[in-house]
Symmetry: C2
Subunit: 365 residues, 2 copies
C-alpha cells in the first residue's frame, strides 16, 4: 500500500518533530523497566519546564487531550459543586458537558465565538464557585484568552475557587506559565504544538488543588491517586496501575528534548513569526480574519471563506492535489471559516509560503 | 543516548510485530483525512475477524487495555444494578473496583488464584444479575477460564444478564469467539498478543448489549454514543468526538494485517506450540508450574520461584546481562512466582530457547 504524505496544517494533529517519530519506532521497553522509568521521570521533568511549574503532580495521562478535561472534572469536582465555565467555542461547550456528567452545578458564561473570555463577567457569574474553568487557546476559533488575568482575579477575591485551564492548543506554542499565573489544574494534548502524535494528555496539578482532590473519584482509569502511585512513586515505590503507553511517552520525551534544546523562548518566537506572516499573507490575498484582533493565536489562524467559494471543495483540492490539510470551521462556522494551523514542527516560514501559494492558486487570486 | 533493545517476555508489553513498528513511524494522517478513515474502517473490520464477531460496534478505544474495562462498566451498568464478578486474580479484583465506582451492587465470587472461574458458582451467586463479568485470560496468574461455558450457562437461564469478558491477554493469542460464545461486551489491549505497543483497547458490543446501554453515561471520553458517531459514522456522517490516536491506530491496522495474513488458526497454533515447549523446558529445569493444569495459557506461563532463589535478583540479571524481561508475580505471589510471556511476535521457538537457556544459566541448572 502506498503511503500518503500530508502536510498537516489543520487544527491538529500536526506533523510531529522528526525526533518524536524516530522515538516511536525505537525498540519498545517494558513499563516497569528501569530504563523506561528513567525516560518517564525525565518526561515529567521536561513537562514541568514547558508548563512553567514546579508541581510534583505533572504527568502525561494515557489518552488524547480530552481525557485531560475528563480527569480534571473527575478528580476536582464533587456532585453539587458550583463550576463557572467560560464558553467562547467548542471546547468551552465541552467543559460544560463534562462538568455536568460529574454532577457539577454549571454556571456557563457565554461569549460570542471568536471573542476571548471576559474576566469581569466570569467573576460576576457566581460569588463563590468551587472551580472556574476556561480555554486558553480555543481550537475552534483561534482565540487566546488571558488566563493570567482570570486566575489573578479569581484568586484575588478569595481562596475558595480552583482555576482550571485548557491548554491543549497553547502548550509549547505560546507562553504558558502555570505557577506564575496561579493556575491550579491544566491539561494539554500532544498532537498540537508539542509536535507528537495524538495519544497523551500532559496534566499538571498545584499543591492547593491536590489537597482538595476527590479521594475516591468515580473513575478508576483516571483516578490520580492510583496513577500518581505509578508515575511518581509517591508511596515509596512504583505501584502498577495500568500499562503505560510506553512508545507514546518515549515520543513525547524526544519531542520535549527537541523543544527544550531549541529553547522555549525561541519556540514561541518561531510560532509568533510564522503566525504573523500567515495572517499578513491571508490579508494580502483579500481574505478576512475571523478571530478578534489582538487575541489571535499564532499557532492557529481562522479565516473567513470568501463569499461564493465552496469551503469543502477548496479543502478537498488542497488535500488531494497538494497533500495539504487545512481545517474546516467548527460548529456554526463549519462552512464559513477555515482553520490553518502552524503548530510545533510546522511553525515554519516554508509551511506558511506553501499554504499561502497553494491557497492563492486554488482560489485563483 | 544509546537505545536499549529488550526481549520483552513479561506479561506485556511484548515486542511488536515489525509491521506495527513501521506503521508507527509512517507519515501521520489527520483524524478526518479520508485516507485515515479508510484505515480506521479497515481496522474495525479486521478487529471483527479477530474477535469472531459481526458486531457493528467494534472499535479501538483511545487508551490502554484497562480503559476497556472502564468503558464496559460506564456504558452498561447503572447505579444499583447487580453485577456478578468472578475473581481469580488481579484483573477480577479490578473489575470489582471499577464496577463499584459506577454504582453497581457487586457480588464477587472468589476463587483461589491460579484456578479458573467456576461456572456453577458464578450462576449460584445471584438469581438475576444485570451483568456477569469474568476474565478470559488472567494476566496475573496465567489461567484461562471457560468463557464459552459461562456465557452459555448465563444465557441459558434467562435473557436478563449481559456477559462481559476481559480478553486483554487472550485476543489473537488463543481462540476468542464472541458471537459463537454469546459474549455481549468484551475488551482487549494492543500490547499483548496483538503485537502492538500499548495505547489502544479493542472493544466490541453485541446488538443486545447496545440496546441496553446507558443513554447518558457519567463519562464523556468513554461515552460510546459519541465515540460511535465518529468511528462508525452511524448518524450518517463522521462527527468529531476526540482526536483519534492516529499513529497507534495505523500500527494496530498493520499488526492485524500481519495476523490475518498468517491466519488466525496458524497464529493460535504458534502460541500453543511455543507455550507447550516453554512449559516442558521449565519442568525439565526442575521448576514447578503455578497455574492449574489444563487451564494454562500458552501466551503467559507462571512458574514458581525455587526455594532459596531471590526472585528479583534473577529478573535483574536476566534484564541487565541478557536484555530479557520476564515478569514478577502479582499480588501475594510477587516474589514467589515468575510470569513469562510469549505473545504475538514473541510466540516463537527461538524466544523459548533463549529464555530457557538464559534462565538455566542464571539458576545454575
Amino acid at each position: 500500500m502506498a503511503l500518503v504524505d500530508r502536510v498537516l496544517l489543520g487544527p491538529g494533529p500536526s506533523n510531529p518533530y522528526p525526533e518524536a517519530t524516530a522515538a516511536l519506532a525505537a525498540p519498545l521497553l517494558g513499563h516497569l523497566d528501569p530504563e523506561f522509568l528513567r525516560v518517564l521521570d525525565e518526561t515529567c521533568a521536561r513537562l514541568r519546564t514547558v508548563w512553567g511549574t514546579e508541581n510534583a503532580r505533572t504527568l502525561p495521562l494515557s489518552g488524547t487531550g480530552s481525557i485531560g478535561m475528563e480527569a480534571a472534572f473527575a478528580n476536582f469536582v464533587r456532585p453539587g459543586d458550583t463550576v463557572v465555565v467560560g464558553v467562547n467555542g467548542l471546547f468551552g461547550e465541552r467543559m460544560v458537558d463534562v462538568a455536568g456528567r460529574y454532577g457539577a452545578e454549571v454556571v456557563r458564561v457565554d461569549h460570542e465565538w471568536g471573542q476571548p473570555i471576559d474576566v469581569a463577567r466570569m467573576l460576576a457569574a457566581h460569588p463563590a464557585p468551587r472551580l472556574v474553568g476556561a480555554v486558553h487557546a480555543e481550537t475552534s476559533t483561534g482565540v487566546r484568552s488571558d488566563i493570567a488575568a482570570l486566575a489573578a482575579a479569581v484568586h484575588g477575591r478569595d481562596d475558595h475557587a480552583l482555576v482550571l485551564a485548557d491548554c491543549v492548543t497553547s502548550l509549547a506554542g505560546i507562553e504558558v506559565d502555570i505557577d506564575g499565573w496561579g493556575v491550579d489544574v491544566a491539561y494539554s494534548g500532544t498532537q498540537k504544538c508539542l509536535g507528537v502524535a495524538p495519544g497523551l494528555a500532559p496534566f499538571t496539578v498545584s499543591p492547593r488543588a491536590w489537597e482538595r482532590r476527590v479521594e475516591h473519584p468515580p473513575t478508576w482509569y483516571l483516578d490520580l491517586n492510583l496513577i500518581g502511585a505509578y508515575v511518581d512513586g509517591s508511596n515509596g515505590g512504583r505501584t502498577y496501575h495500568h500499562t503505560a503507553p510506553v512508545a507514546m511517552i518515549a515520543s513525547l520525551h524526544a519531542a520535549l528534548g527537541r523543544v527544550l534544546a531549541e529553547g522555549l523562548d525561541a519556540v514561541w518566537e518561531r510560532h509568533r513569526a510564522a503566525g504573523a506572516r500567515l495572517r499578513e499573507g491571508l490579508v494580502d490575498l483579500g481574505l478576512d480574519l475571523f478571530a478578534a484582533e489582538g487575541h489571535r493565536l499564532p499557532e492557529l489562524t481562522t479565516v473567513r471563506v470568501p463569499d461564493g467559494v465552496d469551503s469543502a471543495k477548496v479543502r478537498s483540492i488542497l488535500l488531494n492535489e497538494y497533500n495539504i490539510e487545512i481545517g474546516a470551521g467548527a460548529g456554526a462556522f463549519a462552512t464559513s471559516v477555515w482553520r490553518i494551523g502552524l503548530m510545533g514542527h510546522n511553525a515554519r516560514l516554508d509551511r506558511v509560503e506553501l499554504v499561502l501559494s497553494a491557497l492563492a492558486r486554488v482560489l485563483g487570486r
